[in-house]
Subunit: 207 residues, 2 copies
């Protein structure tokens, strides 16, 4: 994929990437994304879960949701997924930063109507959250499928931006007696909390 | 604060809140937000750090950044901060969900030009990331201040949306032999990684 005028990373262009591999890796690791769309000139940014299947990013939700109703009309959308990797403490306040990986996808979504694609998309969303979960839980009824809007966004125009590594202090600050370095950040999963004790913890939840 | 037609939570209205206390708490806990703005009809969603001081949300960045250049013209903006609290596993795939807290702020930003407000805003951003850090690091020079754009967004139109608690299965699914519950999620900070061993870890980094 090439950078377009809309996806090219302008600030710190050395942090930009336009290959599918880093973009896909960020989309696949992020549990949620933030979806941007415009209603009457006002941008809205809404968090939602997603899943990637090959060249397509799937979103889903209620047919009553403003976001889904807006997006299925084929309007311009921006989907951004961000992973926080650390707080970067420099010797000067000016050079403080974050380590992060973000992916930005632009395009227009289409509504998925074929039942088989809809099921594959919902399976991908559930498996994205908890691998192994889909086949263990009760499958959707036709009514539940009809009550779920699924949207597909092609990964045609996208970019990644990544900052990693230690602080970038100015040379003139290198000898200041100020602690500098990185506080790593990680989204950690805790021990599963069961609704009832009747069903043992399945193997796919034991890691 | 009252809900407006633009901030009212439509899907699961019982999850919506319009008081400043929950909104402020989410903005204060979230290390980053996602900023939505429109350029030539195309929405963009960009992650960035922020800080709240009283009734104002501050953003900052390079004067060369497209986001900052666009926003300081006083265009409509949406700032969304999201905290992930858990993955909710229901007995049916249909009722799977996430536990989260999100805050959405709408409005138009103004550029901060007064040096004292700019300094207070930057101090708030640094203290928001690492309390105690501001006074320890080298303070900004006039050139660094001039090279930083700070924007202020009043917390006049905002909402929070919160999902918490166990899975909401349909009554008819309650007896299914499927594990149901919550996998808690938490952004964890690891041990600080120093750039050099010359300066001891300051007290404010020891927790």
């Amino acid at each position: 994929m090439s950078a377009t005028d809309r996806t090219r990373v302008r600030r710190h262009p050395e942090r930009g990437a336009y290959e599918r591999e880093p973009i896909d890796a960020i989309l696949d690791e992020a549990l949620i994304c933030h979806v941007g769309f415009v209603v009457d000139g006002q941008p809205f940014v809404i968090p939602t879960i997603h899943a990637r299947v090959g060249d397509v990013l799937y979103l889903h939700g209620s047919p009553a949701s403003r976001m889904l109703r807006t997006l299925r009309d084929g309007v311009d959308v921006c989907v951004t997924a961000t992973l926080l990797d650390g707080i970067v403490l420099a010797r000067s306040v000016y050079n403080h930063s974050m380590n992060y990986r973000s992916a930005v996808v632009l395009g227009r979504a289409r509504e998925v109507v074929a039942t088989d694609e809809k099921l594959r998309a919902l399976e991908a969303v559930v498996e994205h959250m908890v691998p192994g979960r889909w086949s263990d839980a009760r499958q959707p009824t036709q009514g539940e499928l009809d009550g779920t809007t699924v949207l597909a966004l092609a990964l045609d125009e996208a970019s990644a931006k990544v900052r990693s590594g230690p602080s970038n202090d100015f040379d003139r600050d290198a000898e200041l007696p100020v602690w500098a370095g990185v506080i790593p950040l990680r989204l950690e999963a805790g021990a599963p909390e069961a609704d009832s004790v009747d069903v043992p913890l399945p193997p796919y939840l034991r890691d």
